[in-house]
Structures are given as structure tokens and as C-alpha cells.
């Protein structure tokens, strides 16, 4: 279960980046290649307004999943000027406290966005008529993953990657 919960979102995240680039390229192709062709042939243009909606939905999912994975990867910007001077046991206590805070934040976001998803489920986007609840579901999934990764990280020791203490005389 644990390896799957760690690897599956990573595959999805990489896939979302490639998908987002593909969608944007599709938009460029439809706008700059197909539109002049359909104009020249005097036929109905191929609709490309969906590109923006799909792109934005992809970015929202990418952000929420990636923010959760960032907790496991420790990729979020961190200021480390005090904690590494503390005794090891205190450092560990701070590490656990921080990850419990992150888990609480993730849980709260998941809960709030679940309620917002239900509230917005019947509203639809203008072009593709996608449920606006889909945007909020991304934050619910991201929030739940954040809780999982934060609790998992709290059980392990660790320090931020970039720190003032990295380079010393």
C-alpha cells in the first residue's frame, strides 16, 4: 500500500505535466495552423476554446497533487536558521510538530474543498460544461495526500535540503 501511495501520484504528476504541454500544443496547432486552413477552405473552424479550460483544470490538479508530493520530497521553500542549532531531540520534536501542522492544514483544506465541491457540483464551465466541482475535488485529493505524506514524514528524521548551515567556514 505504502509504495503504491507514493509512486502512483508521481506517475500521475509527470503525466499531468506532459498532458498540459500536449493540450497547449494542441491549442497552438488549432489556432495557428488549422484556423487559417479552415478560413481558406471557407468551412466551420475547429473550436479550440476548450484548450484554456482543460489547461487550467490540469494546472489545478497538478498544483494540488504536486503540493502534497512536495511534502514528501521536501521541495517547499524552507528557512532554516534556528532549528539546526538545537539539540537533536528538540530538532526531532520540531520536525514532528511541523509535520503535524502540515497534516492539519491538509486535512482542513480537504474538508473545506470537499464541501465546496458539493456546493459547485451543479455549476458548469462555459465551453466544455465540466462540473466546477472537479476543480475543488483536486484540492480535496491533494489535502488527503498531504495528510498521508506529512504523517509519514513525521515518523522519519530529516532536515530541509537548503539551509544557511549548509556552507560554513
Amino acid at each position: 500500500m505504502r509504495p503504491f501511495a507514493h509512486t502512483a501520484p508521481r506517475f500521475i504528476l509527470g503525466g499531468l505535466v506532459l498532458f498540459a504541454i500536449g493540450v497547449m500544443l494542441c491549442g497552438v496547432f488549432l489556432r495557428y495552423v488549422m484556423l487559417p486552413i479552415t478560413d481558406w477552405m471557407d468551412v466551420d473552424p475547429i473550436n479550440f476554446f476548450w484548450v484554456e479550460e482543460v489547461g487550467e483544470l490540469t494546472l489545478t490538479w497538478l498544483t494540488m497533487l504536486g503540493a502534497a508530493i512536495g511534502v514528501a520530497e521536501r521541495s517547499h521553500f524552507t528557512l532554516n536558521i534556528v532549528v539546526h542549532h538545537l539539540p537533536p531531540r528538540l530538532q526531532h520534536a520540531v520536525h514532528v510538530f511541523n509535520h503535524l501542522l502540515i497534516a492539519s492544514f491538509g486535512g482542513l483544506v480537504a474538508w473545506i474543498c470537499y464541501k465546496l465541491a458539493l456546493l459547485n457540483a451543479s455549476l458548469t464551465s462555459p465551453a466544455l460544461e465540466l462540473s466546477l466541482g472537479l476543480f475543488y475535488v483536486s484540492a480535496t485529493v491533494g489535502g488527503i495526500l498531504m495528510v498521508f505524506y506529512a504523517l509519514d514524514a513525521a515518523r522519519q528524521p530529516g532536515a530541509p535540503e537548503h539551509s544557511f548551515g549548509d556552507v560554513r567556514e
Binding site: 490540469t58 497538478l62 520530497e73 465546496l116 556552507v167
Partner: protein, 422 residues
Amino acid sequence: MGAVFIGTLLLSLPIVFSLGAAAITGLIVGGYPLQQLGSTLVGASQSWVLLAIPSFVFAGSIMERCGMSNALVELARAMVGWLRGGLGMSVIVVSYFFSDICGSKMAEVSALGSALVPPLKRAGYRAEDAASLIAAGTAMGMLVPPAIFMIVISAVTNQSAVTLFLAGFIPAAVIGFCLCVLVLVQAHIMGWPKDSRLSLRRLLHASREAAVPMVIPLVILGGFYMGAFTATEAGAIVALYSLLAAKLYYRNVSWRDVGNIAYESGVTTASVVFLLAVATVFQYLLGVSGVPVLLGNILAPLEVYHWTFLLGVALMTMLFGMVLEGLPAAVVLIPVVFPIATKIGIHPIHFDIVQTAAVGIGLFLPPMGVGLLMALKFAGVGVFQHMKYYWPYLIALMVGLMLIITIPELSLMLPRSAGLIK
């Protein structure tokens, strides 16, 4: 709210969660609905402009993995290596080229540090000077498109990313020129050698080798100048081009590498966009609690002249940027100060360019700038040992910044001639 932010920040809670904790505290204490957190988080990450970030990060990582930094280093050495201190100067030139391709400062320091520190040391440059050259060059490169920071600041201040991209080319060249003059002076004082003799054949060969990566800045500059595409579309085109170059020309990047790079680009993008989204809640609370008015009163004495205001805010951004890294500083501070700048008549694009330059310098400011710390790692020098050799470079950067502040046309000339601003 401020106490929660600073307290958790000092406890090494990631900055985005410090902002989040402070925002939740502010919402509860202020009696605002917590739904504000969810709707703002989702709303702020639902942005077409920010969609340019994963493409540029992906393209930059692919090009870096291909090893094209070596071709750019060769081109820079062929261009200016025949001058005294030519190798040092080529660090500045290659930083300009490389920033055009790679949107990430950390990737740039890493690529240039590993490619240039060893030859600099072999040519007799002190390790401290090698680190200073990499740091100062990369700080200047902050202004060269497609910097991720520029996309974020364009979103934060509601300006066109394309206009900002175009506006950055000349100010970056101005700071680069200041640094090159410094290198020339240092070279005469320190006796730094010429790197090579002037050779047209070498220049042509290096240009041919660097042609593949150099297409990207030409596409960006030409495409934006002619108004052919948006920043987001440019990102997609550049990503496709870099993938094709990697698979068909360099042939040293596997599909597994592409997958890994896509994943890493996703993590980088998420940390930037999520930070921006959480900071939006924080900014809202700062706004309703009157912080912008308070800051406006504090900055009022500086508002007499545009340059004093810009310099004051730039120094603040630099210090914030050194402590909080560039992006967090920008998303917290700049939205608060931006309305004051436009109110006193500073052009929004000019303001954004000055702040971008300031954040670039802040990232490489001793003793805590993360970019500087990374450059020092490659040179194997301690931060305090390095400081006494770094100040001339900081002065050159500040002279460049002052020129950008006092001559707004340096920033506005290119977008104006392209018809993007009046």
C-alpha cells in the same frame, strides 16, 4: 497573524505552510469564513498564465540534461575569451544565454558551476572570484526571459507576461555590461590571462554547435516582439522543441529521463503555484487589516521621487529575497507595494523589472542568499571567507540596478517599440 507566520517560519515550517497557518489564524480571528481558504486556493491555481511555468521548467531541464550548457560556454568563450579576463567575462555572457533557455536559477547555478568553476580555477582565478562570477552572472540572468519569477510577478501584478519578458532583455544586458567592465578592471589588477586568441573559425564552429539551444531565445524574442504568441503558447513550443532536440539531435536523453524530468517539473511548478495560491489568502487578510495603508505611510517619505521609492522598495525586496528566497518574498511583499507604485506614477512594467532585478540580487546576497550558497558549494568556499572578495561584484550589480531604476526607458523601450505599451 504575523506572530504565527514568523514563529512557524523560525521553526523551519515550509514557508507556504507558515503563510497557510497565519492565513487560517487571520480568518478565524477576523471572523471570516474558512471557505475563503478553499475558494482562493483553487481560484489562484486556475490560471492560464501560470500554465507557462511547467513548460519552461520542463524545457530548461531537458536542455540542461542534454549538456547544451557546454555548447553555450564554448560560444561565450569564443566571443569574449580573447579579451583580458576573457574566461571570467564569458561566465557573464553564458549566464545571459543560459537564462534564455533555462527558467530555474538553481539549475543555472548548478550547470554553470559544474562547467565553469574548474576551468576558472585552472586559469588562475581564485575560488572566491569563480563563485562571485557565477553568482553575479546568474543574478543578472534573473531578468532574461523566460524566468519563472517573471511569470509569477506578472500574475501577481496583473501585467502581461509577454511585455515583461520583452522588457527584461535590455536591463539584463545593462547589468551584464556593468559586470563585464568590472571583470575587465579586475583582470588588469589581478593579472587574469586571456582565455584564447581571437579566431573567426572558432567563433563559427562554436556558433554552429550552439545553434540548437540558441533557437529558443530567438523564438522567444522574435515571437513576442511580433506578438505572434502568448507566454503560455511560447512555453509549449519551447518544450516541444527541446524534446525534439533531445531525442533527434543530442540523442542522450531516454524516455525514462523525460518522465523523470516531467515529474520534477511538476513538483517545481506545484511548489511555486501553491505558494502563490496560499499567499493570495494571506494578501487578502493583509489588505483588510490595513497593512498596505500602514506600509504606504512608512514609504511616504520615499514617494517624492520615483527613484527613491523604487530603490527603497528594491532594497526591501532584496533583503526579503535573501531571507525568504525570491518567490515567497515576491508574493508577500510586491502585491502590497505595487498599488503605491502605480499611484505615484511609476510604470507597472518598470516597477516589475526593478523588483525582478532586486529579487535576483537578493538570491545571491550574503550571507543567506540560497543561490549564493549553492555557487559557493561548487567553488568550495565558505560564505564569510567569500564576502571580502564579493563586494566589487555587488557594487557592479547595484550600479546596474541604479541605471535600471533611474532610466525607465531601458525597461520600456523594447515593449514600447513592439506596440505592447504606450
